[in-house]
Symmetry: C2
Subunit: 449 residues, 2 copies
């Protein structure tokens, strides 16, 4: 690992060279390196927390001056209960995952002595750009080493001291391992993001970990594939046959269990025939949790009919932009739709392909909704907040992708892998195969994996 | 299918809407549409060949004036022996492939009554830009319908008449099917490629079918993911333990069986200790086929020692750029390397991640080469020309990808698919799960597929 003041191009070139070695290391070697990182960090706890305290002090001053948000200060704090322990445990959790490298996913005997094999392998060089949270360095370095990918890490300036302290430890730990030095590049020079984003000849995948603005900036300024999502505009369609209590519980969870998350509910679509039956209970439950309801005319009328003062105070008029907005707050856009078709059309037009749900007792409608909505996650009678790599059982999460190719939805280690085809022969030539007389035919015998 | 003079944005928006319907159609419906396309084309043979003859006439005039290459004229000719029949057969072959839609690749019981399923689904809207070959329209329309993707087709101007004739037939055939009209958009207005490439809000994947220049232009001018390859700089490393006859046969096949193909050999790396033993036979075999050898100093000396006049006439000095050139002709760059490590380094620096081979009798060296070379195809003792979807047994080929994500190497229907996660519950909420007292744990029970 290099903590580098080298130019971004030199760092990226070094990462590319190192990736060619790293991809050939056996799992045991990569796992040993992860154990060394864990032990090194555990031993350096006091130094790192002291560095983090210096970052925090500067950040608190900046927050007091209004130059930094309070939530960013909070994300910066490595000393927060359980955070340090979680970071260390995360490294061992990644180490203990099944090796993603070298999995054979296809074996075909093309002809006698000519066998084709498709084998999983690392993508190459990852560029990870993140904002405040310093523990992301350890997390991402672990994922990179485990998956056999080199990585270039660029952190936010607010966590510089923590970043350098953690980096030094990881660097020393990796020096004692067979993972090549250049495999993890830590770029601390400032204002290099545009330069890094131009290095598509060395960098194979960008993973942004931060605000929507950061992700959008990156997507708009690079030719390198970006794994992640800018927006998480998740919708739920409340269908007329839904169980009212179930609907209220699921919708309240989706909106309020963590409103700042990308998988939180942002738009509620209500079937017109449910406006006077189920919707009032749901609206009341949301208002009781402090959720402001931005309603169109029909849902407003329905919400205000016999509304408690508590609910009435939370109902406001929606504007068009509300249906394209990720509020990340106790705010919900609400709209009436005639039926499942209109709900699907609305979501496919305004959604962000993240996660969308239907609440209904009708299985056929649920299946239609799940088949027709174009999103990474399509849910029936449950909360959009389940869209998460840990909750899906992937063990770790690289991010949540709203891309249409490669990896979609919560992405685990699998998203850092690609494959290569190995073809082993003993002198076969293509000119010998064909349909003409005297030519050979392929056998195409599928072999066990 | 619409043969449209609409604006590119309108065409793309219509394709996106249609894709939401197309993705829900059952396999039988999609297959019926393919049969209808096949039958329609078969019935319209004479009209289409007449239109093609008009294109050919214009192209021959242009070629005579030097405004068009002879090889393009040849690619344009639908009347060439077997081409029409192959086009028709290709449609039925695609129809008869296993349905790629709706395959379940993961099923996990997260908790009682809460089941996660990962299901293959179409990507959405494909933009296919191709040059002269008019049969590509039928080929791509078939792949799109089979895979449940909408497609926007933009052909080269040289095949306009053929394109319009085939399009009308496909359009009529699809009108008799349940595939929505907008699912295949044929854009015939000129100079619209830059506009299409800007429509990343509607188009999910671009597949260029044409020259390296076309592909490079597209890759450089869009944010939409591009599936394909600009260069095919394939190398073979001739190791000292190789069987000389096997080496000569494989290398001659790789270079000469179809030099214009992307999987043809462009660079031969020769181990220094094989220069006086195996290389002369290989060089003579290549020269006998008319291959010009662009040699560095060491390989030149070796080639000229005791060379026949035939061989001597084919040996010329290489310049640096030769090792980064896709000749697509009877020309081969040749270079001496000390060992497998230097060969790997050369390929990882100069190659295009397409297909590279080692010729050796040493299994350990072969495995090292295949693990270390970063390419879609890594071969042992066989010809790079095997890199082909039909030869791999994929039944059809969308193209060959040198990308590092999504699909790599020869790409069949699988490359046109992505997946979505379906989560079916009965009112579960995320707040109920966690490590705290009274919270539930996930079960993560893997279910049979």
């Amino acid at each position: 690992m290099s903590l580098t003041n080298a130019s971004p191009a030199d760092a990226a070139q070094a990462a590319k060279s190192a990736s060619h070695v790293l991809q050939t290391l056996p799992a045991a070697t990569r796992n040993e390196a992860l154990a060394a990182i864990h032990d090194g960090l555990a031993a350096a706890r006091d130094d790192i927390l002291a560095a983090n305290a210096r970052d925090l002090e500067l950040a608190r001053v900046a927050a007091a001056d209004g130059r930094l948000s309070q939530s960013l200060v909070s994300r910066l704090d490595l000393g927060k209960k359980g955070k340090w322990e979680d970071m260390l445990k995360g490294i061992l959790d990644v180490r203990d995952l099944e090796d993603p490298v070298g999995r054979v996913t296809l074996r075909t005997r093309l002809d006698d002595g000519l066998e084709l094999e498709r084998v999983s392998c690392p993508i190459g060089v990852l560029l990870i750009i993140f904002e405040a949270r310093p523990e992301v360095i350890a997390n991402i370095a672990s994922l990179a080493v485990k998956s056999g990918n080199a990585a270039i890490l660029k952190g936010g300036k607010e966590s510089t001291e923590s970043f350098i302290a953690i980096s030094r430890v990881i660097s020393t730990a990796l020096e004692s391992s067979r993972v090549p030095n250049g495999a993890i590049q830590l770029v601390t020079t400032r204002d290099v993001i545009p330069q890094l984003l131009a290095l598509d000849r060395y960098i194979d995948l960008v993973i942004p970990r931060g605000s929507n603005e950061l992700v959008r900036y990156i997507k708009d300024n690079t030719k390198i594939p970006v794994l992640g999502h800018a927006d998480g505009i998740c919708s739920t369609f409340l269908e007329a046959s839904a169980d009212p209590l179930l609907a209220a519980e699921v919708i309240v969870d989706a909106k309020t269990s963590y409103p700042a998350a990308c998988n939180a509910l942002e738009t509620l679509l209500v079937q017109e025939s449910a406006l006077s039956t189920i919707f009032p209970l749901v609206a009341s439950a949301l208002a009781a949790k402090g959720v402001e309801l931005r309603c169109d005319a029909k849902t407003k009328t329905a919400a205000l009919a016999n509304a408690s003062p508590e609910l009435a105070a939370k109902v406001v008029d929606a504007v068009d932009a509300d249906y394209d907005t990720e509020f990340l707050a106790y705010t919900l856009a609400v709209k009436a739709v005639a039926d499942v078709d209109e709900a699907i059309l609305h979501i496919n037009t305004h959604g962000s392909k993240h996660t969308d749900a239907i609440i209904t007792a009708d299985k056929a409608l649920a299946e239609q909704f799940m088949a027709s909505v174009d999103a990474a996650g399509v849910y029936w009678n449950t909360s959009t907040r389940f869209a998460d790599g840990m909750r899906y059982g992937f063990g770790t999460e690289v991010g949540i992708s709203t891309n249409k190719i490669h990896s979609r939805g919560p992405v685990g280690l699998e998203g850092l892998m690609i494959y290569k085809y190995k073809l082993r022969g003993n002198g076969q030539v293509t000119a010998a195969y064909g349909e003409a007389e005297g030519q050979k035919r392929f056998r195409y015998e599928q072999l066990p994996l």
